[in-house]
């Protein structure tokens, strides 16, 4: 694999890569892809300290309102804590592909819960199944406390069915719109009646609320339960096609290619094994086509994590991480609704494009993007101006430039753009970069990160 292909693979399977890793150059595609999967075999769940919930039972909240209030405040903090932990794990992943897949699934099986215990458990379930058996995955999701709360599964009872989960199961999670009737929704909702969870977040089937009668669903008749419904859905190849389409748009190109997606669906439909599907994508020649390289607009998290991979940075005030996510339009654990973030062009509006182009300089260089041209040393008063305004900067950060210089030690500054930018530079922009002074590798890195081109991967 050449450097360009490696970089492409690593931007899609992870969040970019450091030149240090390029020693893999001589390796075959198979070796590199195999290594990605081997390195993601293990699972590192996220754990935040939730010991304040130990020994508390739901009755206590009713009895002691002040305790309820205190717990509530701690829960709000814990959700933030979970957000930081997740971002940390994305920046320093032990299993890079697994983390990338977890992020993908979080915007597929979209869920939002303000209870940190259930939110953490849900997040770890995504991580656990991220590369596994899709069938078991969907079944596990249908029984997650957070999902039962989010889509009213626990309000779905024999004599008062709630269709919310059944509808989204088909529309957003497995088949896509228009592949089933309203009758199918009603019937399948009955199969999920009685699904509930205990205070700890474990699944509980409340037998007396479960509808044991016969259901007619997608042409099948039987006394189905929720798992049966999921099995019937997966018998339909449309499900493999729907997931393949989504994976293609996310991992390959936002513009779908029917032939490639159908080839993926053929692979996926065999056993619904996610690892096999992703391996097929990364091994395909078309994955490395010129048209796919740098074709994707980075999500805010890809953008932020990618920058922090290149220039390690510490946030003095963790809350800044939340602020940045908000400004960029994607706060982890806080999706807009069950349809998730729309992605692609929808990431970009007049505000987010400016925040994005400013962010590298704000995080790493006191908001300065150097304008020095060849032989130009008169930019100092501009730098002084920005130095004076340092206290007014919105974020307090400690960039680790030594690590950056060490990681990019082997790269000539003139060639840095080949490692920082995916895809092609606009011709005029390339000419402009040409004219800039390359005295400082740091300055050039920030200049590159402040380009529209850097928003692509």
């Amino acid at each position: 694999m050449n450097q360009k292909e490696l970089q492409h693979l690593y931007w899609r399977a992870g969040f970019g890569m450091l030149p240090k890793v390029y020693t893999a150059n001589s390796k075959s595609r198979k070796d590199v892809v195999d290594a990605l999967f081997v390195n993601s075999k293990a699972i590192s769940p996220i754990h935040i300290d939730l010991s304040y919930l130990d020994g508390i039972n739901p009755m206590d909240f009713k009895k002691y309102p002040s305790l309820a209030k205190e717990i509530n405040e701690k829960n709000i903090k814990s959700i933030l804590e979970l957000n930081y932990k997740w971002i940390e794990q994305l920046i320093q992943p032990k299993e890079v592909l697994r983390e990338r897949m977890t992020l993908f699934w979080a915007n597929h099986f979209v869920c939002r819960d303000r209870n940190p215990k259930y939110a953490q458990q849900y997040n770890n379930t995504l991580r656990y199944y991220a590369l596994g058996d899709f069938r078991a995955f969907v079944k596990a999701i249908s029984k997650e406390a957070a999902m039962l709360r989010y889509l009213n599964g626990k309000q779905n009872r024999k004599h008062k069915p709630n269709e919310n989960f059944a509808r989204e199961l088909m529309e957003l999670f497995t088949l896509g719109e228009g592949q089933y009737s309203e009758k199918d929704i009603k019937e399948s909702a009955r199969a999920f009646t009685g699904y509930n969870h205990d205070f700890e977040g474990n699944f509980r089937l409340r037998e007396f609320q479960h509808d044991n009668e016969s259901k007619t669903f997608l042409g099948h008749i039987g006394k189905f339960d929720g798992d049966d419904i999921i099995d019937i859905i997966l018998e339909n190849k449309q499900c493999a096609l729907f997931i393949s389409d989504k994976i293609y748009r996310y991992f390959v190109n936002p513009v779908p290619n029917k032939n490639h997606i159908e080839a993926m669906a053929d692979v996926f439909f065999k056993d619904y094994n996610i690892e096999n599907l992703i391996r097929f994508v990364f091994m395909s020649d078309w994955f490395y086509d010129e048209v796919n390289i740098g074709a994707k607009i980075k999500s805010p998290i890809e953008f932020l994590v990618g920058m922090a991979n290149t220039i390690p940075v510490e946030f003095e005030n963790k809350k800044d991480l939340i602020k940045i996510q908000k400004l960029l339009g994607q706060t982890l654990l806080d999706p807009p609704n069950v349809a998730g973030w729309k992605g692609d062009k929808a990431w970009i509006d007049a505000n987010t494009i400016m925040v994005r182009l400013k962010l590298a300089s704000l995080l790493f260089n006191n908001a300065v993007i150097s304008l020095k041209e060849h032989g130009d040393f008169n930019d100092s008063f501009r730098e002084k101006y920005f130095k004076r305004s340092k206290d007014k900067l919105p974020f307090k950060t400690l960039p680790n430039w030594e690590a950056f210089l060490d990681n990019f030690n082997s790269i000539e500054t003139e060639n840095l753009h080949e490692y920082i930018i995916q895809g092609n530079l606009n011709k005029g922009t390339a000419d402009y970069l040409e004219s800039l002074s390359k005295k400082s590798k740091q300055d050039y890195c920030i200049q590159l990160m402040s380009l529209p081109e850097y928003q692509m991967c």
């Binding site: 400004l327 349809a339 182009l357 005029g428 922009t429 380009l451 692509m456």
Partner: protein
């Protein structure tokens, strides 16, 4: 920082000359802008308790359901049944002038009592079992927007309401900062060198295109906003500041059709009384100052203000002297020449409640949107409001 100092600083910062084009901005806007209809949205976030805002002061059920929370004192009685919370006294004049229409019992079928989801429904104008990825004002922009500044949100980031399928408004809580950000000389240099005839045909082109528009919108707002204009005093709070900026934009004649403002904190589960009184006071004083400001500048005739909250609150109070999440609620429409000022309809029955003990809705909020779109903005609702909605007669 005043403008003169600011220009000096930014010139210093960028070593670029900045030539203000005030001439254009100071031209009389009245003639050119006449009939340019604008919509101002006020979002009361958290679920305002409508029953303690517009009080059914003659209703025993109300008093029985809220033994310690029902308002008994200083009600501004507007008719035999309903009256203002005393904090709304600044709005009394609007009511008397026929410039305020109160729509009771506004909501939607199968109401959701989660703040988050219900706000999402109000912003996207979806059904309660439907999930949309664009907002109703964003879809308006898809069809009728030309520049991001056609819709401005007075915040740091855009709400879903203002995001369309392929066109978005712009957010700013400080247009000078926005301008200063946009005019970083590095961006200018990059854009000056950028050469591609095929902007927006591919993703990278779209990024450049959006940057160009962001820059020009920030510049447009900055250069066309008149600084010393308002003689109107505003209260000292963040919400008032939002409205003050909106008035500044409107009175400067910006070509902005939609402004989005927000006041939060209405989630009064406990000790509601003082909290709500304070928030309603902020709301009423700020809106009153805003309307006066517009009137002084002759722009009130072409401005419509719509105030909503994601839901009302339960009729029965809770044990903590607060109220829990409810359903249908009132919506305020403020403007000149309203077709039906005062109370558009009467309050729904307090005895015939839904199974949760909440008010049943009578007017679908999307028919309020549809009315504003077709009768005020003069556009078709097609593609903006997905469900079939009848139009109402308040404007």
């Amino acid at each position: 920082m005043d403008r003169r100092k600011f220009i000096k600083d930014s010139a210093l910062a960028s070593s670029l000359f900045f030539v203000p084009s005030f001439v254009k901005a100071f031209e009389s806007v009245a003639a050119a802008q006449l009939g340019y209809k604008r919509l101002v949205i006020v979002q009361l976030a958290g679920g305002n308790d409508g029953l303690n805002t517009i009080i059914p002061h003659n209703n025993d059920i109300y008093y029985n359901a809220r033994p310690r929370l029902a308002i008994t004192k200083d009600i501004i009685k507007l008719n035999d049944d309903l009256g203002f919370h005393s904090s709304l006294s600044p709005l009394r004049a609007l009511y008397d002038n026929g410039e305020l229409s109160i729509l009771n019992n506004v909501g939607y079928p199968n109401p959701v009592r989660s703040h988050f989801r219900s706000m999402d429904i109000w912003q996207t104008a979806s059904d309660s079992d439907e999930y949309l990825q664009s907002g109703w004002l964003g879809r308006y922009l898809d069809a009728h927007g030309k520049k991001p500044y056609n819709a401005i949100e007075m915040d740091e980031q855009l709400s879903l309401a203002m995001k369309g399928e392929h066109f978005n408004g712009i957010a700013t809580n400080d247009y000078k900062v926005l301008y200063r950000t946009a005019k970083d000389p590095y961006f200018k240099n990059v854009l000056n060198h950028y050469n591609d005839a095929h902007l927006s045909e591919h993703n990278l082109g779209y990024l450049y295109q959006t940057l160009i528009e962001a820059k020009s919108s920030a510049k447009y707002i900055y250069e066309n906003t008149k600084v010393r204009l308002s003689q109107q005093e505003y209260p000292q709070n963040k919400f008032a500041k939002q409205l003050k900026n909106v008035a500044q934009f409107i009175n400067s004649g910006l070509e902005t059709k939609v402004f989005y403002t927000s006041l939060g904190g209405f989630d009064t589960h406990a000790n509601q009384q003082n909290k709500q009184a304070r928030l309603l006071k902020q709301y009423a004083e700020s809106v009153s100052a805003f309307v006066k400001d517009l009137k002084q500048n002759g722009t009130f005739n072409d401005t419509l203000i719509l105030t909503f909250s994601e839901f009302g609150r339960r009729v029965k109070q809770n044990a903590a002297n607060g109220t829990d999440h409810g359903a249908a609620n009132n919506v305020f429409i403020i403007g000149k020449n309203l077709k039906k000022a005062g109370f558009y309809n009467s309050l729904a029955s307090l005895s015939d409640l839904d199974t949760n003990g909440d008010l049943k809705y009578e007017i679908d909020f999307r028919s309020v949107y549809a009315t504003v779109l077709s009768k005020w903005m003069n556009v078709s609702t097609e593609g903006i409001i997905n469900s079939k909605q009848k139009t109402l007669n308040f404007i």
